[in-house]
Subunit: 316 residues, 2 copies
């Protein structure tokens, strides 16, 4: 299978490239290194069935020729701004890097007759529905972040393009994803702050924000398991058992770093920043009934990620 991974040098994309190579695919990876890096692809680049293109997927004249040359059979679209906090003050980042990339990927698929798509969506499409167990059919999606809005807009595009062009599209609404190659987020931040000051840790919000964290290997396994989806759009909430409170993440990091008597200082408020959804819970019935279940719980995913991050030197 000729597979194209857009955003393939990023955190999740690079793990996916490795897994697709393992599965025997030819992998054509596109990235502009805005968030991804060459280092993430170290284990791919030596493989004969791997090819890398440095290109910006939000520019048609850069993207379309690669589609024409490769003629992929399946596209995995993971290019996006993945740092919600960073785009809160600049919605243009989401317009360009999240929505426009999706539009162009879909339009290149249409022009080149590619019919199979995987898309990485997010819990942020739901908005702040902290008192509802979220199913794929929960009504009134009301994103509160520009990131969530661009991802919901992308899902809308996938719906129309799939109908108009007979695509088979698989959409996962990810929770927080963690593991090796992580470039930002709470674990990353806390480790770096504790290295600067091992006596005190500033925690955004009241520390009671509680979200499910999935380990990246579990997520990649799910993508490969469901990649042959039927014609039309298939959406899954992808998640894990349990959820982890921000303060508990801090406690795990303090413990794994071997620190003692660290004072947690809270900035206050229910959310870490405006546009952050402090709590959400997925109903996972649909994906469980389809035969997939995460191996690691949220707490286990956090502890394993922290441990690996510290062992790797924790520089990135």
């Amino acid at each position: 299978m000729k597979s194209m991974v857009i955003g393939g040098a990023g955190f999740i994309g690079s793990h996916l490239c490795e897994a697709l190579l393992e599965a025997g695919d030819e992998v054509y990876c596109i990235d502009d290194f805005s968030l991804g890096s060459r280092e993430n692809l170290a284990r791919c680049i030596e493989r004969p069935s791997f090819r890398f293109y440095e290109a910006n997927a939000s520019v048609r004249k850069d993207l379309l020729p690669i589609f024409r040359e490769v003629q992929p059979e399946q596209v995995f679209h993971l290019a996006a701004n993945s740092d919600i906090q960073a785009s809160a003050s600049n919605p243009g980042v989401e317009y360009q890097r999240t929505y426009t990339t999706t539009y162009l990927v879909l339009d290149c698929m249409r022009e080149c007759g590619v019919k199979k798509l995987f898309f990485s969506s997010t819990s942020a499409v739901y908005g702040d529905k902290r008192n509802i167990l979220l199913t794929e059919a929960t009504p009134s999606l009301e994103p509160v972040s520009y990131y969530g809005a661009a991802k919901l807009g992308s899902e809308a595009l996938i719906s129309a393009f799939s109908y108009m062009n007979d695509f088979s599209s698989l959409v996962f609404r990810f929770p927080n994803v963690i593991g090796p190659h992580l470039t930002h987020g709470v674990i990353f931040d806390f480790v770096h702050r504790l290295r600067q000051n091992p006596h005190e840790l500033v925690i955004l919000g009241n520390g009671r924000q509680t979200k499910p964290y999935i380990y990246v290997d579990d997520l990649i396994e799910a993508i490969l398991k469901f990649r042959d989806s039927p014609q039309g759009v298939t959406i899954y909430n992808l998640g894990v058992d349990g959820a982890t409170q921000v303060t508990h993440i801090a406690e795990i990091i303090v413990e794994e770093m071997g620190l003692h008597d660290v004072k947690f200082k809270y900035t206050g408020g229910e959310s870490g920043w405006k546009g952050d959804v402090p709590c959400f819970r997925y109903d996972l019935t649909k994906i469980h009934e389809a035969g997939w279940r995460a191996k690691l719980s949220s707490d286990e995913a956090v502890r394993r990620t922290v441990r690996e991050y510290l062992q790797s030197g924790g520089s990135k």
Copy 2:
């Protein structure tokens, strides 16, 4: 009130400009005449409290200076590609003219501190849900047209921008809107085809497509009634009693044109074209309980529009 109407020279926009002037507003109208026309503004242009800007709302450097100069208190955003059939073969039209305009309007509002928005959305955001009575909270919005996708993406943007910047946003999901200044659509098409050949009329699909048609005056009245919406996003399905079958529209036009023995020739299939939703029905409980109800039924709106169109000479 300083009101800005974007897409104000178009079919609905021009009626809205007139109504806002009648209500005593200063009206700042922006249009690029891609679908609108100067003729539509004939009754506005002479008014001292009306000002027109010829500009493309999908270009930031053209739009932002007008926002800065006008400093509007309320924005009515009606700029979009409104011809679903025309964009079916070119999704880029919707990316540019429907989604990008919305993004830029919202971003200009953010930059200039404008807090009040009206947005014209559409039944097309629901997709093909012909067996469901559509409420504002119907789940799983799955647009089948690029137009519906761009409007749903626009609603997602409005959700995030409203939350992040404390906007008060009013969103109407329009059905088919008809009346004077109409530029395309089934009534327009049928009249012109019957003038060319008064013996036979080709009807796309099987003629059993059945949709609610609202007369533009009813719609404008609703916009003015609800323009002071609370902070956050308020969505209404806007509709009328009943719905009108395409074949019945043809019958009304034949009758009003005084023709006899016209043979209807159907191209077949349930939809007029791919991406067309052949039937939908709105649950209007929410807007009725808020105190608004259309004066004309769907059939009455069609007949009145046909009659006025023929009386006006039917050239536009």
